[in-house]
Symmetry: C2
Subunit: 161 residues, 2 copies
DNA sequence: CCCAATTGCTTGAGACTTCAACATCCTGAG
DNA sequence: CTCAGGATGTTGAAGTCTCAAGCAATTGGG
């Protein structure tokens, strides 16, 4: 406890979740626990890296000149600068990525895909896509895919703030 | 790479995601990254524990006699036995939970909420619910909450297997 | 009864994430 | 010009998660 800033004063207690909300909340929590687990496991078996690391390679492979700034990578993958720094270091050790300074801004760092990195993502992508299909898109109808897009986009608004 | 079992043979390459699917996939990945982050942060500020640990307390507080077996806890929270064992150890150190052997099965362990644990969850719950509302339910209409329940439940089917 | 296979859980090592502190560079007000 | 404040990244420590290995208890087939 340690004197939280959010004092649990009786009276300002928010409404608890009703039955309908629980019917959405419980599976949602399970899903956000389980989905990263599955994505991580499949990639770790195939390449020894987790999903975040794969995302870095994926974003780089689609960026102009196959390079991005740390802050852009962090933004695109919704991770902290610190986490991204560690992640890029790990990818650098594998030789899949290199760091180099930015011309115009002495603070910045560019991360660029190496040839080995490109090979890696090209070999990884098919298996990953297959897993994504199996986990997410195969069970859904076209309409449901649209619903999923709308819902997740809407929820991102509040989660990003 | 290291000779994955899933050989990237040209030809068996699965269909890449189309525009519609991407419109669902990208926000879904962000959501699945961001939501646990937010839940963790709020709980960590208030109590110094992450969301998984809170879930343990929450499930225990609603169980008969406020106790559950390790395997039940693991199942309910969609985590591995190992993770749950570590988690319960951490909660035990805080004095919020105790372990005791099961009568009928010498292998099993029961985890029971302590008085301090009950106090903790009672003080934590209002702030947590408020955060859940802010992040998930406030932005959605009633119809959308229903859609969310159906979609997440459907996706859980494939992710659990 | 006996033992091999299974179940339930724990442990330790290594990898990953977070947090706070820090170093560096840029920007703009005075 | 100068310096305070902001922005960009990095680092190390502490906590957490995963994986593989292991232990103890139970179960089931012979």
């Amino acid at each position: 406890m340690s004197s939280g800033t959010r004092a649990p004063v009786a009276g300002d207690r928010p409404r608890w979740l009703d039955r309908t909300e629980m019917a959405a909340w419980l599976p949602l929590v399970r899903l956000v626990t389980l989905l990263p687990q599955r994505l991580d496991r499949q990639l770790r078996e195939d390449a020894g890296i987790g999903h975040v690391y794969y995302q870095v390679l994926a974003m780089l492979s689609e960026a102009p000149d196959e390079q991005l700034r740390m802050s852009e990578l962090a933004g695109l993958t919704a991770t902290s600068p610190s986490r991204m720094s560690h992640a890029v270091s790990a990818l650098e050790e594998r030789g899949w990525v290199v760091r180099c300074p930015v011309e115009q801004d002495g603070r910045g760092q560019l991360t660029r895909l190496t040839a080995a990195g490109r090979t890696a993502i090209e070999q990884l992508a098919p298996g990953h896509v297959a897993e994504v299909r199996r986990l997410v898109f195969d069970p859904l109808t076209d309409d449901e895919v649209d619903q999923l897009a709308r819902l997740t986009t809407k929820l991102l608004g509040s989660a990003s703030r």
